[in-house]
Amino acid sequence: MERYYFDHNATTPIAPAVIDAMLPVLRDGFGNASSIHQPGQHAKQVLERARRQVANFLGCSPKEIVFTSGGTEADNLAILSVGGHIVTSNIEHPAILSACARAESFTLVEADANGLVHPSAIQDAIRPDTALVSIMHVNNELGAVQPIEEIARIAHDAGALFHSDGVQAAGRVPVNLKNIDFYSISGHKLNAPKGIGALFVRRGVDCLPRQFGGRQEQGRRAGTENVPACAAFGAACELARPDLTALRDRLEQGILAQVPQAVVNGANAPRVANTTNIRFAGIEGEAMVIALDLRGFAVSSGAACSSGAVEPSHVLTAIGLTREQAKSSIRFSLGLGNTVEQVDALIGAVVASVAHLRRLSPVYV
C-alpha cells in the first residue's frame, strides 16, 4: 500500500541529504569529541561544524547553541535554569507545562479562541518576582503563530527573561532571535533523526545544567555529544524548504468545499504554512485516524496517552472547544515530500471517511 504522511508536526521523515551527512559520521566519526587524539579531534570538528550550521540557521553565534537530546530537554533546560516565577500559556507543549509544575511558581495565561496568546494578558500576569516568560513560537496543534516579539519586549521591560519553544516554528516561519533569551528547537521536526535538539542561550544569560557530569557544551549539558546526530541536525538546517502554503490551502479548501459542517480550528490566527486543524461535526476523530491509516494516510487527532489511546488535545479544549468538538478534530500537517497528488488523494479519502462515519453516527443528523 502507498503510504502518504501528513503528520509532520508529530515527526518528519529523515531527508536523504541528512542521511548522506550522517552515514559517514556513523562509520568513521566514532571519536569522542573530548578526546585529544585524531579520532577525537575529527569528531570535534564534525560537532562544531554542525553547531555553526545550526547557528547560521537561527541567526546566532555558535557559542549560543547548546545541543540537547531534543525539544523536551531544551524546554526543560530553559524553564528550570531560571529561579522565581514563570509566566506561560495554557496551549504550551507538555514539556513546558510539566517543567513549570516543578518550578517555584508559575501563572498560565489563557489563549483566545483562535489559539493566540495576547501580549496584554502576559503583561497582566507578570509579577515583581517574574523571572521568565515562556511562550511557544508556533502552536503544534493549530499552527497559530504567536506574537513573540511583542511578548519578549514586555518580558524584558519587566526585567524578566524570555524563552520561546520554537520546535514547530524553526524551518517553517522566519526566526529572529534579536530579543529572545532562550529558544528551543528539535531535529526530528526538521527532517533530522530523533534524539537531537538544541537550546539557543543568549550570550551573557545564565543557563544552569540539569544533568551533571563532564564539561561538555560549555558546562551546560553534561554527557558525551551525539556527534552523528549533531551532523545530521546541521545538515537538516541547510535543507531547502519549499513554501507549503499553496499545498495546505489546496487541502483545506478541498475539504471545506466537499464536506459540510467542517470548520477550521483557529482559522483567524496567523498560521504556519504547513498546518490545518479541522473539526468535523459528528465524527469520532479516533475512528477517522484509524480508518485513514488503514487506507495509507497518516494524520492525527489529539494526544497519545501512555497506553497509545488518544486523549482530546488540551490545546483544543484550552481555546474553548468542548471535549466532543476536540475529539472530532483532525490535524493535518504537511512537510517535505508531500505533493499535489498526495493532497488530492487525501481529500478524497477524508471526504469518503467523513461520509461513512456520519452515516453511522448517532449524533450527526
Binding site: E286, I290, A291, L294, S307
Partner: protein
C-alpha cells in the same frame, strides 16, 4: 484494497482474545486488532498499589496485546472508550449499590461498550465484523433467518449469562471463534501459535475494581466525584423487626451474604435485602432467601421472538447458578416476564440478570426487578 471482509478483533492482552487474533489470521482472514482503553488506572490510585490484581487496561495488558498483534502480523490500535465506559458502566455500577441493588457491570459493558461503542468504532474504521474471545456460540436459524445465541461447548467457561442483552444487529456483526472450544484447547492453541501469553491467568470478575474490593471503590469514586455518601450506617434487622446489630454501610452487603455480619445469633443468618431508604440490612434464615417467582424487566429476546404465552425454560439468576426449570409468563408487555420456578431458588438478587435457556439455546434475558 482487498474485497475480503475486514474483522476487528477486540484484544485485551489475555489468552482468549490473543488466540482469536492468531486463529483468524491463520485462517487467512483480513483483521485489525484493537484494545479498548476503558478506565484510567491513574484515577483512584489509592485503591490500586502496584501489586493489586484485577486491574483492567493496565499498561502491561496493552503491551501484551500490542506484542501479540505484532507477532500475528496485523495492524493494531488502542481505542479510548473511557468516557463511554464511565457513563454506561462505572456510574450505574456505583448507583446500583447505592440503591441497594447488586449490579453486573460485565453485562452493561457488553451491552454498551463491547457490542455497541466497539462495533460502532469497528464499522467507522471500515470493518464488517467484530470478533471477541467470549465463550458463546452464534448460529443462524435456517428457516426464520433469526440469529441465535448458544451456550459455549465448554460449559465451565460459558459466558452467555453476560450476553443476554445482544440484539439481532449485534449478533449479525459478531464472531465468537472460541465458542466451540474448551479452555485447554485454547491454551494449547496459544502455544501452537507461539503466543507468549499462553500461561497468563484469566481475567478478574470486575476489571476496574482492584482486588474485588467494591466497597472501597464506591467510596473512592464518590469522593472523587464529590458525591456525598452521608452516613450509610444503620441497623441489621430481621423481617419481624428484631434489631440484631449495626453495620457501617449498607452498600457493602449483598443478598445471600453470610460472612461479615458480625452478629451473634443461634443459627446462621444471611442478608436477604438491603433498604437504602432506611439504611437497614435485613437478615434472615437460609430458607428466607428462597424465592418461587420474580419479575424480569427490560427483557431482551434473542433466539426467539417475544413470547405471547407461557413457555417452559431453564432460568439462570447468577453466573454460577445452575439454570433451573421454570415457566416464563408474559407480564404486560414484551419486555416484562414473570419467572415461576418449579422449586424455589436461593438469593434472587435485584440488579442481577435472569437469563432464559432452552437447552443450549439462549432465549433471552432481563434484569431481576
Amino acid at each position: 484494497m482487498s474485497k475480503q471482509p475486514l474483522i476487528a478483533v477486540a484484544m485485551s492482552g489475555g489468552v482468549d482474545s490473543s488466540v482469536v487474533a492468531g486463529l483468524l489470521k491463520r485462517e487467512g482472514a483480513n483483521i485489525v486488532g484493537m484494545t479498548m482503553q476503558l478506565w484510567n488506572q491513574r484515577r483512584l490510585a489509592e485503591l490500586a498499589p502496584e501489586t493489586a490484581t484485577g486491574r483492567c487496561c493496565s499498561i502491561d495488558d496493552v503491551y501484551d496485546a500490542r506484542y501479540v498483534a505484532q507477532l500475528v502480523g496485523i495492524p493494531y490500535y488502542v481505542v479510548n472508550f473511557e468516557d463511554a465506559f464511565e457513563k454506561n458502566v462505572v456510574k450505574p455500577f456505583v448507583d446500583d449499590y447505592l440503591h441497594g441493588r447488586t449490579p453486573i457491570p460485565c453485562t452493561l459493558c457488553n451491552n454498551f461498550i463491547k457490542f455497541d461503542t466497539f462495533i460502532e468504532m469497528a464499522e467507522g474504521v471500515g470493518a464488517d465484523k467484530i470478533a471477541t474471545g467470549h465463550y458463546a456460540r452464534i448460529t443462524q436459524n435456517s428457516e426464520s433467518g433469526r440469529w441465535e445465541l448458544r451456550r459455549a461447548l465448554d460449559d465451565t467457561k460459558d459466558q452467555t449469562y453476560f450476553l443476554f442483552g445482544l440484539t439481532q444487529t449485534q449478533l449479525a456483526r459478531t464472531l465468537f471463534p472460541l465458542g466451540g472450544m474448551v479452555k485447554t484447547e485454547v491454551r494449547e492453541l496459544a502455544k501452537t501459535l507461539a503466543l507468549p501469553i499462553a500461561d497468563k491467568g484469566d481475567s478478574q470478575e470486575i476489571c476496574f475494581v482492584p482486588n474485588g474490593d467494591y466497597k472501597s471503590f464506591i467510596e473512592a469514586y464518590c469522593r472523587e466525584q464529590n458525591i456525598s455518601l452521608g452516613d450509610m450506617s444503620g441497623d441489621i434487622i430481621t423481617r419481624d423487626g428484631q434489631v440484631l446489630g449495626e453495620h457501617s454501610g449498607y452498600h457493602s452487603y449483598t443478598v445471600g451474604q453470610r460472612r461479615g455480619l458480625k452478629i451473634a445469633a443461634g443459627e446462621p443468618l444471611y442478608v436477604i435485602a438491603t433498604e437504602p431508604e432506611s439504611k437497614r440490612v435485613i437478615v434472615g434464615r437460609d430458607e428466607e432467601l428462597l424465592t418461587q417467582a420474580f419479575t424480569a424487566r427490560d427483557v431482551n429476546w434473542i433466539s426467539i421472538p417475544p413470547i405471547q404465552a407461557p413457555r417452559r425454560s431453564q432460568v439462570r439468576i447468577r453466573n454460577r447458578h445452575v439454570p433451573s426449570d421454570a415457566t416464563l409468563v408474559p407480564a404486560g408487555d414484551d419486555t416484562r416476564v414473570q419467572v415461576r420456578f418449579d422449586s424455589p431458588q436461593r438469593a434472587v438478587t435485584p440488579g442481577q440478570g435472569a437469563v432464559f435457556y432452552d437447552g443450549d439455546l439462549v432465549l433471552g434475558g432481563g434484569w431481576i426487578d
